[in-house]
Symmetry: C2
Subunit: 231 residues, 2 copies
């Protein structure tokens, strides 16, 4: 609490007058009334960024999937379950925002036809037909007057190459690359990330998510103000 108070007192109010939207957490895609496809996002990164953006003076709208986290003070929160619900909430309010930070681990696929009743066990194998979900981040970047867009790339394998590909394919401004694996990435408190943009890069951490969140917000604020230097 003391550290937070001191950080706030010393920190710049670099986002005063700005609106920031953050998506956070997983989505759940129904298979039937009791089963779903989910993913292992804790939502900690997004909640930390929402809190940091609020401390930097912004109005913050947090669109959250099912997580067990308290809403940061002063943050406006919209709770959703599925990718389609998240998409609807995002487009309803993102037009007023200067910065969009997509930390949510939106399910890439959902069951094609969720069953109305619980599917019975029959001892046989079966297949589940999946259809692609909307790419919310790419949709936001493709809006007529898009906000500055920051995405996250939770990758295995060649992390930086995959993240650079995401920067180009989604048409976003900043991508935060982190490696997923034992003790790294989602559901952990400490993290190291590389921020990539057209013509630049910066490595941040290892640091707690709260400190990384503050640095990511400061970096985005510098980009909004046109003062971000290439790495």
């Amino acid at each position: 609490e003391l550290v937070a108070a001191v950080t706030e007192a010393l920190g710049s109010r670099s986002l005063t007058g700005r609106c920031v939207m953050v998506t956070a957490g997983p989505t759940r895609e129904p298979v039937d009334p009791v089963r779903y496809l989910g993913n292992r996002s804790s939502g900690k990164t997004g909640f930390a960024i929402a809190a940091a953006a609020r401390r930097a003076g912004a109005r913050v709208i947090l669109v959250a999937g099912p997580v067990n986290l308290a809403t940061p003070p002063g943050v406006e929160r919209v709770d959703v379950q599925t990718a389609e619900e998240m998409r609807y909430a995002v487009h309803a309010w993102v037009g007023a925002c200067d910065l969009f930070v997509g930390t949510a681990a939106v399910a890439d696929y959902r069951p094609a036809e969720p069953a109305a009743g619980k599917v019975k066990r029959d001892g046989e194998g079966r297949t589940l037909s999946l259809v692609p979900n909307p790419d919310i981040l790419a949709e936001v970047a493709a809006r007529p007057k898009p906000p500055l867009t920051m995405g996250f790339a939770a990758e295995t394998g060649d992390v930086e190459a995959n993240a650079r590909a995401k920067l180009a394919s989604k048409g976003i401004d900043l991508v935060v690359a982190n490696e997923v694996g034992e003790g790294k990435g989602f559901d952990t408190d400490d993290n190291t990330v590389t921020v990539l943009w057209e013509g630049g890069r910066r490595r941040l951490g290892p640091a707690p998510k709260t400190e990384l969140a503050r640095e990511l917000v400061a970096l985005a604020a510098a980009r909004l103000d046109g003062t971000l230097q290439g790495g």
Copy 2:
């Protein structure tokens, strides 16, 4: 707290000297390193039964999937993720138990071949091949010297008929039928259930899960003692 203390003081120690195993919560079946098939079990029912069995004097072993619940005082807890992990934990310790209460919403199916790396979005539909999971409750009932077995049937449609079918097909002693739907069953605090056994039935509730748990434990204790009357 006061109500709990009074209940404990007044309640019988009907399970003194007994060992009770309870499974609780959902299981998570990996699709790849970040995605999984899950289900909407909160684990509240199982944790309430574990607490009630402990208050009734039993040694209690609670095998829990991923939930956000505190371990009841005096209960021994084993945390697992997948159905296979739950199966392993159950068979490791159930031999010493007099009563097995299977409240866990074990996934009926798991992905046939979990991917080692994160599966990339490609804009196309795809299918996920699923294989049946072990039926842990039926396996316990089929052991050479099985404990008394109590299962739960979270059903939509003709609840009682489906539950009676489960009683027979799994070879268990007691089945607790509850209807899943808007405001009923999983993830709610209040509940109405029907307990079915060969030649009998009893309706319990509506009541809070903690009270239902106490009544279910008392009913199982009566059956263990040979004093349960048919409904």
